[in-house]
């Protein structure tokens, strides 16, 4: 064994042997090998499926889902974002006060401040 303060690029045979003995499995190696090989077929089947096939199998439903999402999004967006067309009556209806239509049809000349404030409200 070498000085513990020494930096050495080479493996330490004594320490390596002691560690190896400490980590060495106690049972028969063949038992482990048999255990791994018992799972061979399942792993091989997984390995045998080409990656492109896996991607392709994801691809088709992906396209269908994307198209469906686009259609739904378009319909929903149109419904929610497009304002309903306003009728002329609704446009002329007062928000508060007599409103533009009442002022226009009144027999007496209107107060100018009321007319202007009504027009500004309509905007």
């Amino acid at each position: 064994m070498k000085d513990s303060q020494e930096f050495d690029h080479r493996p330490d045979p004594e320490l390596g042997a002691a560690l190896r003995a400490a980590l060495e499995p106690k049972d028969d190696q063949q038992v482990f090998v048999a255990r791994v090989m018992a799972q061979y077929k399942r792993a091989w089947d997984r390995a045998s499926v080409p990656t492109l096939d896996v991607l392709a199998s994801w691809f088709r439903p992906g396209i269908a889902a994307a198209v469906a999402a686009l259609i739904l999004g378009f319909v929903f967006g149109r419904t929610m974002l497009t304002p309903a067309p306003a009728s002329i009556d609704a446009a002329m209806a007062p928000l508060e006060g007599p409103g533009l239509a009442a002022l226009v049809t009144a027999p007496d000349p209107p107060d100018a401040s009321v007319v202007f404030s009504s027009l500004v409200d309509q905007r």
Partner: protein, 213 residues
């Protein structure tokens, strides 16, 4: 988890002094690189026995590395098995220009790390109290068992990366560059990790030898 990049550093040489790097006893190279590549090619062609040979070659090494990460031997075997099967699934991705051992060990180490993270409670291997106190040692086997238990405990006190690095270097014989590829860390960090791990383990080993006299 350790790095997922392919290849294990390619077995770059080390500036190992006059004699260059020396393989430790029973070092990692379970078979020649060319033999491994041939077995990989046969496995990819569907040869079950070829894969079996690869498992036989690397089983001991994979189990030791997994045990270095996990501590518990049963968990380690589960992780090593996961590693072999995962390697089979990913075998088509293996770059045959690089050595097979580091590639496989990276997968095994990752499998062990995954398993360790999944464990809700860390199950440190309990140390027999009679061993800690340096009790009677009836024979050489008991002494070796005692040393093994102490080393496993000491390994368990190191960080996962540090203990994996020292096991890969001193037990399995991988170069710093290869370990850097396996663990996904810079080569200088590997050197540092190995240095610190050795300092702790060598102290323990020296104390034990002193007591054994």
């Amino acid at each position: 988890m350790f790095a997922e990049r392919e290849g294990g550093g390619g077995g770059a040489g080390e500036a190992g002094g006059a004699g260059g790097p020396q393989p430790p006893p029973g070092a990692a190279r379970m078979g020649s690189s060319e033999e491994d590549k041939g077995l990989v090619a046969k496995t990819l062609a569907g040869d079950r026995d070829a894969f079996g040979t690869l498992v036989e070659r690397y089983a001991a090494q994979a189990r030791r590395v997994a045990r270095a990460v996990l501590g518990d031997p049963d968990d380690a075997d589960d992780a090593a098995q996961d590693g072999f099967l995962s390697a089979l699934v990913k075998l088509a991705q293996y770059d045959t220009h690089r050595p097979f051992g580091p590639w496989l060990m990276r997968i095994v180490a990752n499998a062990a790390t995954d398993r360790r993270r999944r464990r809700s409670v860390r199950q440190a291997e309990p140390l027999d109290p009679s061993l800690v106190g340096g009790g009677p040692r009836p024979d050489a086997v008991a002494m070796r068992n005692e040393l093994g238990a102490r080393l496993r405990t000491a390994l368990g006190e190191l960080s996962e990366r540090r203990r994996t690095a020292v096991v890969l270097f001193d037990v399995e014989g991988y170069s710093h560059a290869e370990i850097a590829g396996i663990l996904g860390i810079p080569e200088g960090t590997v050197r540092s990790e190995v240095f610190h791990a050795r300092r702790r383990l060598r102290t323990l080993l020296a104390d034990w030898k002193e007591q054994a006299r």
